[in-house]
Amino acid sequence: MNISAIDEFVAAFIILVGSMMSFLSAVGIIRFPDVYTRAHAATKSSTLAVLLTLSGVFLYFWLNESLISVRLLLGIIFVFITAPVSGHLILRAAYRSNVKLTETTSEDELKSALENKNNDE
């Protein structure tokens, strides 16, 4: 196994770990009880999965063809910024449109906070 094969193996291993993260988040999206926990699974581990995968691809092209792809770096930064934002927007829309929390929820802090704000005004 020469140097190039080891480089390829490292990049492919990072990609494989990223795809396993993606599959774990898919398991979370199918098993969790309500939309809030599902979005927790979908946004956090999906972000990690796509970051690992794109980093692996960037590493592959860097080590094998000595190409530093600026487009791929831009894609990594863009996904890293926008994935938490879209998760937050989805959950805000869900709470504003009165989607029910699951029955095992013990506390809803946002509800009491919103009521206090309305009482102050």
């Binding site: 939309v35 926008t82 504003r96 449109s97």
Partner: protein, 94 residues
């Protein structure tokens, strides 16, 4: 060896997309479907990146950037639609 690992990760991404599709069809509320669509876009971006290694080409790296931007704009439009629709129903209740 590399090809086997990349094919395995590609099939895992495809499995994740299938599960997210199940959540879109089955999902009890509209934000569930938004979560599923967001997840399909993210997995599609990763799958295209792996595919560009398998095909030994660099032209798909443009597609990654464009697809990321379009998926983000689509998710934001979808959440705006969900939120505004609920505000209309809220006024109708009173």
């Amino acid at each position: 060896m590399i090809t086997i690992m990349l094919t395995t990760s590609l099939s895992l991404f495809a499995l994740s997309i299938a599960i997210a599709l199940y959540r879109i069809i089955r999902g009890p509320s509209m934000p569930d479907r938004a979560v599923g669509l967001d997840m399909i876009a993210v997995n599609l971006v990763s799958g295209i990146a792996v595919f560009s290694i398998l095909l030994q080409t660099k032209v798909f790296l443009d597609v990654i950037l464009i697809l990321g931007i379009l998926a983000w704009i689509g998710t934001i439009a979808f959440t705006k639609f969900i939120e505004r629709g609920s505000i209309v129903e809220y006024k109708r209740d009173r």
